[in-house]
């Protein structure tokens, strides 16, 4: 690193364009962007899904899929990476530019020990062995426990966070000048995310390398970014130092995005209600036991341990926790998609334990407890029209087709969709619209309890906010009891008046959200709150903005 290299950008992108096939929704995935990546700095590229941010990163790596055509220049070390022959690109890739991906499981070879996978990086780039010492050193640098033993593990032995550490170790193996990280923490829990971000920041500072961080989360930007570029529909709409862009955004779109970032904000406690709770859950237990083979010992996992809570009519209880905490299992037990091992679930006006009912007795009660699902793409049958999807419950409960048609139109208006869209298929809708269809389906049978399982986690932030508003509004208007499952405390703070925190199957803390989220008593809750990315930057900003 001489003085000249510090002054010049590491990578200078000029008029980079990636053309999409003719029948796509727009002509260019990336549209004439100019971008400089400075050495020794972290540049964040932010944007919603489909904004072209990943395609930009792939263009630098020479990984743009075949029929798409790249033009413009990506100047790196005196050569243009656009149109560089594959063999010359290979020499740069991995050795001088490292990359980490979103899904560490998909990016690692599942049948190869991780030590060997790291060793391959050295071998492919012709670096003479033995590599053992360097591999162990790298794994130790990544903060992995017992690196000498761990290098003999297979990827499935490791947790998601550990896999991502291995990926980073591979990307850093040859001390690249530039690290490209494509949503490296999106698939991880908040607590793990915080650790991985800290690790990337530390590695960057130690090696003085440039980092291009692709993300959709302004929290991540605030957490580690030096500079930020905001992308929208293939164009860069705003660029500047992180402090400046987050503090005083100039472009309208940046402002909209920043406003949409959910914040931890106190919510007025729900008015106390008298009388019996709408739903009361006591001592629910669920244990999974699996067996690796016919003679292997059984392994048991206590997914839900002694969970108890009550839900009032018109109230919203948030169940928050990391992946594997048992929150989704609990939700599925309550709607009886899963069978619990024990416990007592009572619905207002029903004398019996819902968990004890045989499926015949349960059938008429199903309509009172409905669910909104996480994945807007998997939760709608691609082969049925919106009318058939929303009306399926009505028709199954013997409502005549003509009446169902009116009701579906009414429901679609309720979730702010055009009733005329009833005859179309789900693939004609965006993720946010699909989620609205899912909500309409859940409301079709006029339920008393709505169980929402991560209803916004698959959506872009700007859409998230709108779906959350819709859910909260409907819940109030129809005075539903809502059970809101989420991993995101910020989202929970916006819609829930009570919050239960789950850890390893157990509810560790529960109470009004103003208490739990702003005055946590348990260490685990404190840890979750501390791990919210970019917390400092967003907590100080006023909640109200100038957009809208």
């Amino acid at each position: 690193m001489n003085a000249r290299a510090v002054a010049d950008p590491l990578v200078a992108i000029e008029k980079l364009t990636v053309r999409l096939p003719v029948d796509s929704d727009r002509a260019h995935a990336v549209d004439e962007i100019d971008l400089d990546i400075a050495p020794g700095r972290i540049l964040c590229l932010v944007g919603e899904s489909g904004s072209g941010k990943s395609m930009t990163a792939h263009a630098i790596m020479g990984l743009v899929p075949r029929p798409l055509i790249c033009s413009g220049t990506i100047r790196y070390d005196g050569q243009n990476l656009v149109g560089l022959p594959a063999d010359r690109h290979r020499a740069i890739r991995g050795r001088r530019i490292g990359m980490i991906f979103q899904e560490p499981m998909a990016a690692l070879n599942p049948v190869m020990r991780i030590g060997r996978q790291i060793e391959e990086v050295f071998r492919f780039h012709g670096i003479p062995g033995p590599h053992d010492e360097r591999i162990v050193g790298l794994l130790a640098d990544m903060g992995l426990p017992e690196p000498a033993v761990l290098r003999h593990a297979f990827p499935f032995h490791l947790s998601g966070g550990q896999r991502q550490r291995v990926m980073i170790a591979m990307a850093l193996a040859l001390d690249p000048e530039l690290l490209i990280a494509d949503e490296p923490t999106t698939a991880l829990d908040v607590t793990t995310q915080k650790q991985i971000l800290a690790l990337i920041k530390k590695a960057q500072a130690e090696r003085g390398m440039g980092v291009l961080m692709i993300t959709h989360d302004f929290g991540v930007v605030a957490e580690i970014g030096d500079e930020v570029a905001v992308m929208r529909q293939g164009r860069i709409v705003e660029r500047g130092p992180v402090k400046q862009v987050l503090g005083s955004p100039r472009h309208e779109y940046t402002r909209t995005l920043l406003e949409a970032v959910p914040r931890l904000e106190p919510r007025g406690a729900a008015p106390d209600r008298d009388g019996a709770p709408l739903l009361s859950v006591r001592g629910v237990v669920k244990t999974y036991s699996t067996r690796a083979g016919m003679f292997a010992p059984r392994r048991t996992v206590e997914a839900v341990r002694d969970a108890s809570f009550t839900l009032a009519r018109g109230g919203t209880l948030g169940i928050v926790g990391e992946s594997g905490s048992g929150k989704s299992t609990l939700a599925r037990i309550i709607v009886r998609l899963l069978t619990a091992d024990g416990g007592d679930v009572r619905l207002e006006g029903v004398e019996r334990n819902l968990l004890d009912l045989a499926s015949r007795d349960l059938a008429p009660l199903r309509r009172r407890v409905q669910m909104v699902f996480q994945d807007p793409f998997a939760s709608l049958n691609p082969r049925r029209t919106v009318f058939e999807i929303v009306a399926q419950g009505l028709l199954a409960h013997g409502v005549p087709r003509e009446r169902a048609r009116d009701r579906v139109a009414e429901l679609l208006r309720l979730v702010a969709l055009d009733p005329a869209s009833a005859s179309r298929y789900p693939n004609a809708f965006s993720g946010g619209q699909r989620q609205r269809i899912g909500i309409a389906r859940a409301l079709a049978l006029e339920p008393d309890v709505l169980v929402a399982d991560e209803p916004v986690s698959a959506l872009d932030v700007s859409i998230q906010a709108r779906v959350l508003d819709l859910l909260a509004g409907l819940q109030k208007r129809l005075s539903l009891g809502m059970l809101f499952i989420t991993h995101d405390l910020r989202v929970a703070s916006q819609v829930c008046d009570h919050v239960a925190v789950m850890q390893r199957g157990r509810i560790v803390e529960m109470g009004p959200s103003a208490d739990v989220l702003f005055n946590p008593r348990q260490d685990y809750t404190k840890l979750l709150i501390d791990s919210i990315p970019g917390r400092g930057a967003f907590a100080t900003r006023p909640a109200a903005g100038t957009g809208h």
């Binding site: 899929p65 075949r66 594959a86 998609l337 407890v369 699902f373 939760s379 049958n381």
Partner: protein
């Protein structure tokens, strides 16, 4: 329309469809093209191709061309009917096993495996021999030996679709299990099953030919396999007796395979690997 466009992108598939259409047309128009019984003697035995008989005559003086034209109907019919039966059995077994899982699945998988452990062609010979050769017994035998792979495919499709959220939503909406299986899951599992079924028609035609070659065909109906089988004693003296029916079989099976491949491309566009990264 998009489906037809994707299908037409595969030139081989279009060619296959054209050949298949010709074979089907010939089979349907057989009584008009070659009126009369194809089993009847028409001329001197073992006449080489040319003259009155473009494909020659066999050792009983029967017209080879007439045999091929009429045999098309038998071959196609056996292929189609036996595949339909096999698909019905296979999809039912696979759907029930995949959807319900647990002990039902264990039991049905064992049954399927039982059928798969017996070499299928030997099994088919055995069945036809026991039931005495006839159109019905050949169709039954082919269906019985070919359904297990379909059941396995249907089972794996149902197992993965079963866990999808739209199925959970259907359960919560109060739909009955039969409704969920038939109208929610099955339509999503259809494309690979259609592709496999179309390829199985070709296999069924080959199996029927092989059975007829061994003399286990329906003695009252002419089929391509029967013609080759009957000609085996005079292979060296009269090549035309086996070459023309053989070509008919090869062409038809090839056409069906091409059509199946085209269906695969059109129904599962994401499998075609259009997006490729240069490495």
């Amino acid at each position: 329309m998009a489906f037809l466009k994707r299908y037409a992108e595969n030139r081989g598939a279009v060619a296959g469809l054209v050949i298949l259409a010709v074979v089907v047309a010939v089979a349907l128009a057989a009584p008009l093209l070659m009126p009369g019984d194809p089993m009847a003697t028409r001329g001197r035995p073992l006449l080489p191709p040319g003259g009155d008989f473009p494909f020659g005559t066999d050792m009983l003086g029967r017209d080879v061309l007439a045999g091929i034209v009429h045999g098309a109907k038998v071959s196609l019919m056996i292929g189609l009917i036996s595949t339909v039966i096999a698909v019905l059995i296979g999809v039912t077994v696979g759907a029930v096993a995949g959807f319900f899982g647990g002990q039902v699945d264990d039991l049905l998988v064992r049954v399927t495996e039982f059928f798969q452990t017996i070499p299928s062609f030997i099994f088919a010979i055995l069945l036809v021999a026991i039931m005495t050769p006839s159109l019905a017994s050949i169709v039954t035998a082919i269906a019985v030996v070919t359904w297990p792979p379909i059941a396995r495919l249907a089972r794996s499709e149902f197992m993965s679709l079963r866990r999808r959220e739209f199925v959970e939503a259907a359960v919560l909406s109060g739909l009955s299990r039969t409704r969920i299986i038939v109208s929610e899951v099955l339509p999503n599992a259809m494309s690979p099953l259609i592709v496999m079924g179309s390829l199985m028609i070709a296999t069924a035609i080959l199996t029927e030919s092989a059975l007829s070659f061994l003399g286990l065909g329906d003695p009252n109906r002419i089929s391509w396999g029967y013609m080759i089988g009957a000609a085996r004693t005079v292979f060296r003296q009269a090549w035309w007796l086996s070459v023309f029916p053989g070509l008919a079989i090869a062409l038809t099976v090839l056409a069906i395979n091409l059509v199946g491949e085209g269906l695969n491309d059109a129904l599962n566009p994401h499998l075609k690997g259009r997006m490729r990264i240069e490495t």
